[in-house]
Each structure stands twice: as C-alpha cells, then as structure tokens.
C-alpha cells in the first residue's frame, strides 16, 4: 500500500500552516525584535544589541520580581493543586455518599471563565464589605478577617489561593480517572495479604498514578507560567506590583507602547518554555509510545 498516496501530506498542511503563522513565527520574530528599540513612539527601528536583556536582568527595576513572582506562583499552585487534588480524589473514591454530586461540584469552577472567577472574588475578598470577611466576623473570627487583596503582604497569597480554589477540582478529576483505571485485583490481593489502607496507598495507588501525576504536574506548570487572566481580574498586578507576573507586565508594556521590553520578556519566556517544553511534551506523549 502506498502510504504517500493514501495519507497525503497536504491533509496536514492547513493546521500546520495556521499554527506556524500565528503561534511559532511571532515567537521567532519576537526574538529578533528584542534586539531593537521597537516602540509605539517611533517608526524607525534601531539595533540595540543586548540592551533590552540588560534592562530586564539588571535588577534596577521590577522585571526580575515579575519573573520570580511567576515562578513562585507556578511552584505554589502546582504543589497545592496536586496535593489537595490527590487528597480529594482519594476522598471521593472512598465510600462517601453522593460521590458524583461532589465530583461534579468540584469540577464546576474549571468550566467557568477564569476572568469571571477573578471578578467574583474581588467582591468576595473585599476587606470591608466582602462576603468572606463579613462571614468571618459573623462567626467571631475577626482576627482572620484580613485585607486580602489590598495588603501588600496578603495580596499574592490571596491570588494564589483563589487560583488553587479554581484549579484543584480539575486536577482531582484527572487523578480520579487515574485511580479508577487501577485494576482492583491489586487491592484485593493486598487485602488478602493484610495490607492496611495506608500501605495500599503507598505501594499500589501512588506507583500506579505516577504517569497521571506527571501529566497533571506538567499541565499545572504550563498553566502557572502563562498565568494572566486570574491576576489581571483580581489585582491587575497591584498593590505596587506585588502581584505582577510576566504576562500582566507584558500587557502593561504593550498598552504603554513599550514594545521592545514587552517582546524581550516574552522571548525570554518563549526560549525557556521551548527548552523545558520539550521534556514536558515527552511526558505528555509518553503513553502513545507504549501503545
């Protein structure tokens, strides 16, 4: 059978073309632009060498903090979503009643636009009149009623918490699917050998979930590094750039017409993500190699 004739190359051309044109090419020409003084204020372009990179990495301004904030956000949300997700998956795979209802409710925030979640939480977390503080005061926990998104120290943890609230159900759902795929004979055999619940978890569930856990971690990391909507809706980087992440900073530079700085940060991210992305994609596509 002639594979070339039966599965013609031009079947693949449409999507590869659109993807290359609007996703890959901007990334590559962006690297080129990051060596120029491109801005909205001048129509001429000048080559400036590594000046933009020096500005970003010099530490004279807040750029480094945007990068470290993004990394911190990714680290914290990934750890929390994965561990809470795993605990909830175990809980909702045990003999709890109304399992499907709970699972459905926990997954629900994942289908709501992130922007809408963010906007809703700006009201809930309002220090004076927000639902959370009103509730805490009503049950006598005044001390816990903090200045959530306003206090520079509290703002970033609050943003991360809202994102964990939003994303844990999704991770839990994937892990439940993973747990359900573990053949029950393993557990039966372990029970006959007298293994405790904890032992079964450590010696059966965790090892069998390794691939699923790897995938959820990869997805969390990708999501975290690209975070924009949640921060934009909750704080827009404030107070005083305390919650600024790379993509919100890029959007601000874009709005101000500081294209060279914007494209430089984007390019740093682009190169970084391609390098780690290669390994991540290997993890994501691992199953198919086995099949």
């Amino acid at each position: 059978m002639n594979k070339k004739k039966l599965y013609p190359w031009y079947f693949a051309i449409g999507s590869v073309f659109i993807y290359s044109l609007l996703s890959v090419i901007p990334g590559i020409i962006g690297i080129g632009y990051s060596f120029t003084d491109w801005s909205a204020y001048s129509s001429e372009l000048h080559f400036v060498g590594f000046d933009n990179f020096k500005t970003v990495f010099s530490g004279d301004n807040d750029y480094l903090r945007y990068i470290s904030n993004t990394l911190l956000f990714t680290l914290v949300t990934t750890i929390c979503k994965t561990s809470f997700g795993l605990l909830l998956a175990l809980l909702l795979c045990s003999k709890v009643r109304f399992k499907n209802f709970h699972r459905g409710v926990l997954y629900l925030p994942s289908v709501i636009p992130i922007l809408v979640t963010g906007l809703t939480f700006t009201s809930i977390l309002n220090p004076k009149i927000g639902f959370l503080n009103t509730f805490l005061r009503a049950i006598g926990l005044d001390a816990l009623a903090k200045q959530w998104l306003v206090d520079p120290k509290m703002a970033f943890p609050s943003v991360m918490t809202v994102d964990i609230w939003r994303g844990t159900g999704y991770i839990m759902t994937m892990l439940i699917a993973g747990i359900m795929a573990i053949p029950s004979v393993y557990y039966e055999a372990a029970s006959i050998d007298g293994a405790s619940g904890f032992k079964k978890f450590v010696h059966i569930t965790l090892p069998m979930l390794r691939q699923t856990l790897a995938v959820t971690i990869v997805l969390n990391v990708i999501y975290g590094l690209k975070i924009f909507d949640m921060v934009y809706a909750l704080t827009n980087g404030g107070p005083g750039h305390r919650t600024e992440v790379m993509y919100t900073a890029v959007f601000k530079m874009f709005s101000k017409g500081l294209y060279a700085e914007g494209t430089t940060i984007s390019s740093v991210m682009f190169v970084f993500m391609i390098i780690i992305g290669f390994f991540m994609v290997k993890i994501l596509t691992k199953d198919e190699v086995v099949e």
Binding site: K3, Y7, P8, F11, A12, G14, S15, V16, I18, L21, L22, V24, I25, P26, G27, I29, G30, Y33, L88, L91, S94, K95, V96, R97, H102, V105, L106, L108, V111, P113, L115, S123, N126, I129, G130, F131, W165, T173, M174, A177, G178, Q211, L225, D229, A233, V250, M253, F254, S266, M269, F270, I274, I276, G277, V281, L284, T285, E288, V290, E291
Partner: protein, 276 residues
C-alpha cells in the same frame, strides 16, 4: 465488631469533609445566583441573604445595557468558527501524523504538539496581525483561536486515530476508495466520539478566552461575552445585582454544555493522562 464502629465514625468524618469541600466550592456560585435576583439597593454588597423580592428584571436590564445580544452572537461566531476549522483541519493532520509515522512526520508532530507549551508573544503577534490585515477583525480572532487550539486537538485525536486498525484502510482501498473518500467516509465517522469531545473542549476554551480580544479587538461591537462582562464590571462597579446577572448570562452556555456534555469534557481532559 469493634472495627465496625470505628469504621462508621470514619465514614461520618469523611462525609462531613466532602460536604464541607463542596460547600466551599459552590458558595461563590450560590452568591452570584442569589445576588443576581436582588434589587439594586440590596445588592450594594454581595451577601448570602435571600432577596426580599425576586427581581428578574435585572437580566433584561443587563441584556440591554451590556449589549449582550451582540456580544453573545460574537462569542458564538468566534467559538463556533474556531471549533469547526480546528476540528476539520486538526483531525486531518492527526490522521496523517498517526498513519505515516516516518521520521519527518514524527518530527512535525512533535513540532505541533510543542504548541501546547510555548507561550504566545502577543507583542510581535500584533505585528504579524497588522501585516496580514487581521488586526481588529473577526476572522483574525478566529484564526488565532485555531492556532492556539490546534496543538491540543491534534494531540487528542492522534491517540484516537491510532486505535483505528490500519486493516480498515486496506479494505477500503481494495473497494476503490481514494484518499479523500477513505478519510471523510470511513475514518472520520469512526472518530465521532473523539471529535465530539474535541469540539466541546474547543468551544468551551474559546468561549472562556478573553486575552486575544483584549489585545486584538479594539471596537466594542466585536467583543465577545467575556470582554463585555469585564467592561460591564468597570462601568457598574457597585451594582452587584447587574454584574451577577451578567456573569450568569456569560457562564450559562458553558455550564449548560458542561451539564449536558460532562462525559465528553471530563473524558477529553483526562485523555492522555491515564493509560487505557
């Protein structure tokens, strides 16, 4: 028997825990529903108190003031258009990648799937959009969504195509099928469950997206629901009844989709993560 009693206490604790977690998850949603039904004076702040009188007029007000009909149609157009193009082109690519498996096509598959990871450079993308005269155009937004959604879709469908036996292709060729007939008449119908999953996910993601319009759509009459709701939030900052009504109207289509197509959404998003 002693174990039975201990087990029952454990059961009760686990049940309470599950109920608590569900409560934390559902509380904001309950808040939005309650407040969307309140009169303006009552909804200066979002509280859990039930409305004194149910004010369904909020929805009519929002639809009129927020120009929601227009942005609803825009959202349908963007999400629908992007979904159809992504699925048709993406499934054809996934099919060729999965069947040919040569070194070159393997590399091309990796190149496309890498798109799930690489970040968008919005600044230089603007330059590309301007050059192609796609800035501030509906077609531009649809093509952008196609570019963003394609990698995951090819990744998802690739796995499903691999499960269709090649013997089927051989039989079809013996019966006189050409390449186009083989794909569109034989393979694509077999991919239907995967394609439905892909369509639901693609529509959902595109409906919820708002960064692309934020960068590339200047005229408000082209805005989708998400951007309209953001703008509305800025205008009516203290009228939480209206904001909540707007939020509900924005989320309703995706929540309905979720309730109807739960199987497809969850199945699709967990595909690839779980063996089997």
């Amino acid at each position: 028997m002693v174990g039975g009693r201990k087990g029952r206490i454990k059961d009760i604790i686990l049940n309470i825990l599950a109920i608590l977690v569900s409560l934390i998850m559902i509380m904001p949603i309950v808040l939005i529903v309650i407040n969307s039904l309140k009169a303006t004076g009552e909804a200066m702040t979002m509280t859990i108190n039930l409305p004194k009188k149910i004010e369904l007029g909020n929805f009519a007000t929002v639809i009129e003031k927020g120009k929601l009909v227009k942005s609803f149609l825009n959202s349908i157009f963007y999400a629908g258009g992007a979904t159809i193009i992504t699925i048709v082109l993406g499934s054809m690519s996934a099919y060729v990648f999965s069947r040919r498996r040569s070194k070159g096509f393997g590399a091309l598959y990796m190149y496309v799937v890498l798109g799930m990871v690489i970040p968008v450079n919005y600044v230089s993308l603007m330059k590309v959009m301007q050059t192609l005269a796609l800035n501030n155009s509906s077609l531009g937004i649809i093509l952008l969504y196609v570019a963003i959604q394609t990698p995951f879709m090819i990744f998802l469908l690739y796995g499903f195509v691999s499960k269709i036996p090649v013997e089927l292709d051989e039989a079809a060729v013996i019966d006189g099928c050409n390449a186009g007939q083989l794909y569109f008449a034989i393979i694509m119908p077999l991919l239907k469950p995967a394609i439905v999953t892909g369509m639901v996910l693609c529509f959902l993601n595109t409906w919820n997206e708002f960064v692309m319009p934020l960068y590339f759509l200047n005229s408000s009459d082209k805005w989708p629901m998400t951007l309209a709701v953001y703008n509305f939030f800025g205008q009516f900052e203290t009228s939480w009844n209206l904001i909540c009504a707007d939020v509900i109207l924005t989320c309703a289509p995706v929540i309905i989709m979720y309730l109807v197509g739960q199987k497809y959404i969850v199945g699709g998003q967990t595909a690839g993560a779980v063996k089997g």
